[in-house]
Symmetry: C2
């Protein structure tokens, strides 16, 4: 009775996790070997356009709102008054768009090493780049780690690490050494947020290690927020916040409730609930 | 670059939604054509055992806690004092196990038309049937709709419809007529809960229709609660509660916070948050 997928499907196999996710594809729109990665864009039948990097699903039109809203709004509302925001990675510009919805933000710098990702987003995901002309936005295409190293001490309010998985080009973004560098450039009261993979697959590995590494890097509070993400392994994803002299387990609830900007997923109640981990995660992290 | 799955994978294709989910299988444990459906059990590499009915994933060892906890605890805590509980379907006994964790419950009757499902659960999912000998539990194998028809007026506190998808054998469980029959057997202050498919795929179809049908059937409050469920279409699922003279948007928060029974997912905060739908769902349901 097992069904078989024919050649009209894009499949990503999550080998170590024994699962796979597939989307039915109409045709391929783009195929490019950049200096950094293999970039593909497909038109799918039901998820709109699909961006793939090195064989891994990055985003689709249909469900990217979940990831982009959760990588931005919880971090920005956890900060008392975020004015200076930095995004490492995030070349598709979806996180940038969400950050720019916060009127108090004065400047956002996005540093992605690969301009081809942004070019592909401009061409195939126009909704994601719709705020790129905002005068508060600065787009740089260079090595994010080097950029952080050249950044003055205590100059950033919120640092968003919107990276690919912690294998390959982004591996360095999950190390204690990098987290220490991030800690250095954050102002007192500042915070960082990093995508931290699947609650089901990675709680006692990547998530636990990242939280420990954040502590070792000097951060004094940490919070992992789970959220649904259909196209990522297990369909369930997370981001992890770390605060420097601020408690990332609290946030500006009144401001979040009063915010009128367009969104599809983020709610005050969802933010509050995401700060309380399911018991199975609590147990794994306490072990 | 598209990867291809070889014969060692079980794949379920969600045709109308253009997506598919696959689990790597070690071997098949069971294959049976019951009088009602095709029942298969596989051993997977990373999700434990997998039960499949008519080609659709029903549950795995690894992630069934999400569904079973969300089909039981929100409904039971939304009721003021649930003593008499009925489960239509639910033959794997996972929902029954969760219901029996509530000490105030005096009797739970589970009515599944197909005894083969419970036999398979006894053999391959022993954790799910561990409470079946509880003296408060009654297991019946007959037509749930007929059972409801023979049930006296206003005799049930909580009715849980733990069915397969609204196509095939379970189609009748999603109709207004059936919902009216459910309404009849519920006491004043009683409520029902039904699995209601994917927030991403079904908000403006099955979920919207079910909520409207519940209203037409006489229920005076309704709430749809989303939750993650990796093995179901889109990895994101929902249940919908409907109250008869009770507001299913509130619940016994103090009792839920004080409860000490074992669980992996359910939290008071998660319950509260699940009652506030993501904006995209709110918009689709209001249209």
């Amino acid at each position: 009775m097992t069904e078989r997928l024919d050649g009209s499907w894009f499949t990503e196999i999550f080998d170590r996790h024994g699962s796979a996710f597939s989307l039915k594809v109409s045709h391929k729109l783009h195929d490019e070997q950049t200096p950094y990665q293999h970039l593909e864009v497909y038109a799918t039948e039901t998820y709109g356009n699909l961006m793939v990097l090195d064989g891994c699903v990055m985003l689709t039109d249909r469900d990217n709102f979940l990831y982009h809203e959760m990588m931005s709004h919880p971090a920005l509302f956890a900060h008392a008054d975020p004015k200076r925001v930095v995004i490492i990675g995030g070349g598709d510009c979806g996180t940038l768009r969400e950050v720019l919805k916060h009127p108090g933000v004065e400047k956002v710098t996005q540093i992605d090493i690969d301009p081809a990702v942004t070019r592909a987003s401009e061409q195939f995901f126009p909704a994601l780049v719709e705020s790129n002309d905002d005068p508060r936005a600065e787009l740089l295409f260079e090595d994010g780690v080097k950029w952080v190293d050249n950044c003055p001490d205590e100059s950033i309010d919120v640092l968003i690490v919107d990276s690919t998985d912690p294998v390959g080009p982004a591996e360095g973004l999950f190390k204690t050494d990098f987290l220490k560098r991030c800690h250095r450039i954050l102002k007192q009261g500042g915070l960082m947020v990093q995508q931290s993979e699947s609650p089901l697959y990675h709680t006692d590995s990547i998530i636990k290690d990242l939280r420990n590494d954040m502590g070792e890097a000097g951060f004094d509070s940490v919070a992992t927020l789970p959220f649904p993400q259909p196209v990522y392994p297990s369909g369930w994803w997370s981001c992890t916040l770390a605060g420097k002299g601020c408690d990332v387990k609290s946030f500006r609830e009144e401001d979040a409730a009063a915010a009128t900007f367009a969104r599809d997923f983020y709610t005050v109640e969802g933010h509050r609930a995401a700060l309380v981990l399911p018991p199975f995660m609590q147990r794994l992290l306490e072990k």
